[in-house]
């Protein structure tokens, strides 16, 4: 464009303004500045609607519908759970990419890299916590999204295939979480994944199970090969799969339109795509403002949770030679672990999940009831609720509280000072463990309130097990705290008891605790004690 004749034709100022507007319109993919002002003022668009242009100009907007039915834009219809699932995938991709910079998937480096990330990379811990929190939230939100579409009957014709791709997305999300679980290469990761992959082994016939297991682990046991495979699954294959199925899923959603609240159409009809002109809500600007402000709000919530209430765990480095007491799966697999406690590996690990998955995918075909209205779907809704309750009960059974109590003495120590993770004693810390020998029979007290609390718990927990377990009688404990080295204390738990036959027995467990060690729980208020000037309590 020749500038000179332009200026000659119009004034100089006008030319500058026009050029600016031109640039602006390119950035907004088709909406001139004046129209943006009218949007902000809340004025109705002209005809033809200039606000539709970006949907044909911009790639990201062309997949969004230009307008929605007013009823489905209500927050309480979808709870924005599908949007949120998509956003969480985005968050995971970004934070995950950043984590990849400091991570190498080999047993020699992975764990050390995690430590380096935590102690040497600005915002490294934040990124890791955010990624982990995002992953857990994603499982939660995707499940909630499924529950929402189930309760509104949105899987019914013509949306059966949308539901089916949704089931695939759910499975991929779970596998993504599970494959990421191994990467820190700590005891938590290693054993959860060892148990998880061992379920694949139970797939009949044996040759198939063994092959699947071998393919996943890369060797009979998880090692360098297994880690590399899980890494590649986690950062490449599964995200690509999710990406692909997301687009199929979303295409179907846009294609059929989001299902209307069931009261607004006749039973058996689907009018989601026939939106009367007076009920249209345009994406630009209304839905965009809604979605953008919602996602920003959600981001703020996530950052807040990460900053104060969530810290990704990191236990000791993976040790194939020693299984820590009470290895647990991540919480969203507790139900599987619960099943494994009451049935054998073949049934609980392969048949039940397989049947569940097929049933879930087949729901649109099993439920022949054409109505999406709650009062017509009592059976479906009640069976959904029953399934949910069964899942919660199974999950509870998956926790160590159910049916895996070891010997009482072992459990007493595990409660106070678990083999892995924090526990009360480590959380109280070096400062609150005065040197000495403390015998529960003497009900010792010290000047330190936190320590008194520990002693009290020690006593109470021994008493509790004494009551429960007939082969654990006249029990008492001795806690010895000695200085092992400068700034290192040795903590010895000794528990003595009489068995049912009256034979004396004892259990001794020794731990060490360094002054600088910080131990934390995954959920709960973060420990900011490092901000205190040293030597001050």
């Amino acid at each position: 464009m020749a500038v000179q004749p332009e200026i000659e034709k119009k004034s100089f100022v006008q030319t500058v303004l026009d050029t600016a507007d031109d640039v602006f319109t390119r950035i907004t993919a088709g909406i001139p500045a004046g129209e943006v002002r009218r949007m902000i003022r809340g004025e109705a668009p002209g005809r033809p609607n200039p606000r539709l242009k970006p949907h044909s100009e911009a790639f990201l907007l062309h997949i969004k519908p230009t307008y929605y039915h007013e009823s489905v834009t209500k927050f309480t219809h979808t709870f924005r759970l599908g949007l949120l699932s998509t956003y969480l995938f985005f968050v995971e991709t970004i934070t995950g990419l950043i984590l990849m910079i400091w991570y190498a998937p080999t047993p020699e480096r992975a764990y050390e890299d995690m430590i380096r990330l935590l102690s040497n990379v600005p915002f490294g811990q934040f990124m890791r916590d955010m990624h982990r929190l995002g992953a857990e939230l994603m499982v939660l939100i995707v499940t909630a999204h499924m529950v929402r579409t189930y309760l509104t009957g949105s899987y019914k014709a013509p949306r059966q295939f949308t539901w089916f791709t949704g089931v695939i997305l759910l499975v991929v999300t779970l596998f993504l979480s599970f494959s990421g679980y191994l990467l820190p290469w700590d005891q938590l990761a290693f054993w959860a994944v060892t148990i998880g992959t061992s379920m694949a082994e139970a797939v009949p016939p044996a040759i198939v199970g063994e092959t699947v297991n071998l393919l996943a682990r890369g060797a009979p046991d998880i090692g360098a090969n297994g880690l590399l495979r899980f890494y590649l699954l986690h950062v490449l294959f599964l995200p690509l799969l999710l990406f692909l199925f997301f687009f199929v899923h979303y295409y179907k959603v846009v294609h059929f339109g989001i299902s209307l609240p069931s009261d607004e159409e006749e039973v058996g009809q689907d009018t989601a795509n026939k939106v009367p002109a007076d009920r249209r809500v345009y994406f630009l600007p209304d839905v965009m403002i809604d979605e953008a402000s919602f996602l920003i709000g959600f981001t703020a919530l996530m950052v807040l949770l990460t900053a104060f209430f969530f810290s990704a765990p990191l236990e000791s480095i993976a040790n194939p030679q020693s299984t820590p007491l009470h290895t647990v799966a991540p919480w969203y697999f507790y139900w599987l672990q619960g099943l494994l406690k009451i049935a054998d590996k073949m049934i609980a690990g392969v048949i039940v999940p397989g049947v569940l998955l097929v049933l879930l995918a087949a729901i649109p075909y099993l439920d022949r009831n054409p109505s999406r209205r709650g009062r017509d779907r009592r059976v479906a809704i009640i069976s959904g609720i029953v399934a949910g309750i069964v899942m919660i009960i199974l999950s509870w059974m998956g926790t160590p509280y159910y049916a895996v109590q070891g010997a009482p003495a072992v459990e007493v120590v595990q409660e106070l000072m678990p083999e892995e993770g924090a526990g009360h004693v480590r959380e109280a810390g070096y400062q609150h463990l005065p040197l000495g020998v403390y015998d529960t029979r003497e009900h010792p007290t010290t000047d330190d309130a936190k320590f008194n609390h520990i002693l009290h718990e020690f006593e109470a927990s021994i008493a509790r097990f004494e009551e429960q377990d007939p082969s654990f009688n006249n029990a008492y404990g001795i806690l010895k705290i000695t200085q092992e080295q400068p700034r290192l204390k040795r903590i010895t738990w000794e528990i003595y008891w009489l068995s049912a036959e009256g034979v004396e027995d004892r259990f001794v467990r020794t731990f060490f605790l360094h002054e600088d060690s910080l131990y934390w729980e995954q959920y709960g208020l973060r420990d900011f004690s490092f901000l205190r000037p040293p030597g001050q309590e």
């Binding site: 309480t76 915002f123 009261d263 402000s293 092992e484 080295q485 060490f512 360094h514 901000l531």
Partner: protein, 297 residues
């Protein structure tokens, strides 16, 4: 149309939405700033945390693998293994062997490779190889952890040298100390403080270094022989088979080990000076304890 009870969740006004969005954005920025400000301190705390945890891991490894030669408190056992919790070790040892690297490397390498050679050794057993790179049981991180633990004795060791806190070092025959003898250089036995009262046999077995050469739990049988000294797990059965009564035999074995050499072992391995280092009362209690079939550890 009836609204569900949760419909208050739906904000209609775009102005309110934009307001909430901006407020959230401000909150996010404030939170990130807060994290940014404390980041330096957090990283320091984390660095110290993982160093601390490494020492904890090392302490566990030491307690499970090293203490029976180098002693519970790292002060070595006479004739079994040198002291690591020793001022000499932290200040003089590297000079005496002409090591130009750091003490950290010296410890890490010694632990990793061990000293699997028997030439002219004054020690009952060889220092085993620990790194799994050379056939030992430790991974690299474990070698590092136990090294961190050994080095953590420094602060304590540097206070040694006083009469009530002697340096427990032992003379190295293969690398005589160039330090001034008499100050740092006195052999350990000469400066061992007089015991304040009879020590219990469990403690004696440990501090006298019997542990380094004898296994208390395993029985001594033709197929299960202690590598350095006989296993003592079934001593109460075997002690009486040498023509003396059991207590006399064990007493003599301790005070004058070379008087009777157990089959398959050589004379001169078991130190002959235990009679001077323990009181008669202590030796008797040790004998009694060793012969007790239900002995408590």
């Amino acid at each position: 149309m009836k609204r569900p009870w949760y419909s208050f969740l739906y904000v209609r006004s775009p102005i309110v939405k934009i307001g909430l969005g901006i407020a959230s954005l401000v909150l996010t920025i404030v939170l990130l700033l807060f994290i940014g400000i404390i980041e330096e301190r957090r990283m320091e705390a984390q660095t110290a945390n993982w160093a601390g945890r490494e020492i904890e891991k090392g302490a566990e490894l030491y307690a499970n693998n090293c203490y029976n030669c180098h002693g519970m408190d790292g002060k070595g056992l006479p004739g079994v293994a040198p002291a690591l919790h020793s001022k000499y070790f932290f200040t003089q040892r590297l000079n005496d062997i002409g090591w130009s690297g750091s003490l950290h490397d010296y410890v890490a390498l010694t632990v990793a490779a061990g000293r699997p050679s028997r030439v002219q050794s004054q020690w009952a057993q060889m220092m085993p190889t620990w790194s799994n790179r050379f056939g030992g049981p430790f991974r690299d991180d474990q070698v590092q952890a136990v090294t961190a633990f050994v080095l953590n004795w420094e602060e304590d060791a540097m206070q040694q040298g006083a009469a009530d806190n002697p340096d427990p070092w032992q003379y190295f025959e293969d690398a005589p100390s160039r330090a001034v003898v008499g100050e740092d250089g006195a052999p350990v036995a000469a400066v061992t403080p007089e015991p304040t009262g009879p020590r219990p046999p469990q403690e004696l077995f440990n501090v006298m270094g019997c542990l380094g050469c004898h296994n208390l739990d395993q029985p001594q049988t033709p197929n299960n022989r202690g590598p350095v000294g006989p296993n003592l797990g079934n001593l109460y059965e075997t002690a009486g088979t040498h023509g003396e009564d059991a207590a006399t035999y064990v007493h003599n074995s301790i005070v004058n080990p070379n008087a009777y050499i157990s089959e398959g072992y050589t004379a001169g391995i078991m130190p002959a000076n235990f009679g001077e280092r323990m009181s008669e009362e202590e030796i008797n209690s040790l004998v009694e304890w060793l012969l007790d079939p239900n002995r408590q550890r």
